[in-house]
């Protein structure tokens, strides 16, 4: 039923696209900076941390700041979706009991919302790239967008799975937020992977960090770095395994989710 529900949810796109857009627009209306409010804080983070950590790692800013910019914006996208996923059923109780939205539609709504914010943040990315005179090329941009699409597709199963866990057990929220914090530091976002010294600290264990692979296939094309085959293997493997596991769990639990929330 999981895939059937996903299909139904996709067909209900009018609803979730409109709700996400309206949520974002209503946040603009109540803010000081308007549409900039989303990107401004990201921009400040990137520029200040870029300079600071560039000096810590002894890398030139033209090298480190764009790297950090792409990584941070992608991280913001992924971690936003994941943390919203855990509470997506518990906080939407009245919708679930009164509307005919298929359960995966809630994850699509949230992913779309986070995606719109991501699009705003891309403006910062363009500014950073223009500042350092980097142009990734059409192929690079295209591969980047493919990477983003792959991440979004994966977010659906992650959010449904976490949503189910979050509905069954109320402490999952805390656990997930801790894992996200660890993930941010353990994934090469504010540090660069290299071959020796501190940069190679994790060694082969880095391969066990799922975020790492998604970052590599999305970030590298934009910075002109090659993607290793092993990253693709992991991404494809994670996508398939994730959907299979979520399929299993969803099919056994979807009938009871409404009673847990």
């Amino acid at each position: 039923m999981f895939f059937r529900h996903i299909y139904t949810a996709i067909r209900q796109y009018h609803y979730w696209i409109l709700v996400s857009l309206l949520n974002i627009v209503s946040r603009y209306r109540q803010s000081f900076l308007g549409p900039l409010w989303i990107s401004a804080s990201i921009g400040i983070f990137i520029f200040t941390l870029g300079e600071l950590y560039g000096r810590i790692w002894n890398l030139p800013s033209s090298d480190f700041v764009p790297y950090l910019a792409v990584g941070y914006i992608l991280w913001h996208f992924m971690s936003g979706a994941i943390s919203l996923g855990v509470t997506m059923f518990t906080s939407n109780k009245y919708y679930i009991l009164q509307s005919k939205m298929a359960l995966p539609a809630y994850s699509m709504k949230l992913i779309f919302e986070v995606f719109i914010i991501f699009l705003h943040n891309l403006v910062i990315l363009v500014i950073v790239f223009a500042w350092y005179d980097i142009f990734p090329g059409i192929a690079g941009i295209f591969q980047f967008l493919i990477g983003v699409a792959i991440i979004s597709v994966n977010m659906v199963w992650v959010m449904v799975l976490l949503g189910i866990l979050g509905a069954a057990y109320r402490d999952v929220v805390e656990l997930v937020s801790v894992f996200l914090r660890i993930g941010f530091l353990a994934t090469p976002v504010i540090w660069k992977v290299g071959n020796e010294g501190r940069a190679a600290a994790l060694g082969n264990y880095l391969l066990f960090n799922p975020f790492y692979h998604f970052f590599e296939i999305t970030r590298n094309p934009l910075l002109g770095m090659p993607i290793h085959a092993i990253n693709w293997y992991f991404v494809i493997g994670i996508t398939i395994a994730g959907y299979m596991i979520t399929w299993l769990i969803y099919d056994t639990t979807y009938k009871r989710i409404a009673t847990w929330i």
Partner: protein, 233 residues
Amino acid sequence: MRVPVNVSTNRSIKTDILSLIKQFYMPKNIWKSVNLLTDINLSINEGDRVALVGPNGAGKTTLLYLLGGNYFPTTGKAFRRGNIQPIYDLRVGFNEASTGMENIFLRGLLMGMSLDEIIRNKDAIVDFSELGEHIYKPLYTYSSGMKMRLAFAITTCITPDVLLMDEWFSVGDKNFQAKAGQKMLDFVQDARGLVIATHSEWLIKKLCNRVINIRDGQIVGDKTVTEDYTLEI
């Protein structure tokens, strides 16, 4: 229908803390499965206007959720045909920060209307709710009566197939009630089927042709409504 329920039976703080610790090490005590509904054999057909009556906690809302397809029976099967529209809360889907007009779309889409339907009906909705220029202002500026009127106008602009209602809803001030009361009755009469949980004998006599009595999760009565029907719980 069986669901797990968290039970805790102690009163004093001391026994509470001890029992908390006990529950941690002997988890069997925490979850108890409770039968919310038992032995429901029910057929609701076209033209039936059913009133669900019973004391509070008897299972009326659970049965409504089952009928609506939001809950699934743990044993047995439920079959549904037709477009089943639950209307438990008129204002579900309203986003306080969006304008009235945007909320028409939000609420309408949530009810399963298509975008075309909403666009066709939006002027009629605005007229019926008598909100005028306010429709372009954010919802948090509305009084609760205004929100009710808008919610009501949106809800009643669809052509209902099967309606599920949990208690009748009161719709605002006297002036609007006069206008809305008849519209509400018409709206409900247009439906092919209706199931409403209610405590009001007047409503049952006015709207329904069948009454199902529920007590402690079981159906204890299923009769047709006649002229001299009196509500017994």
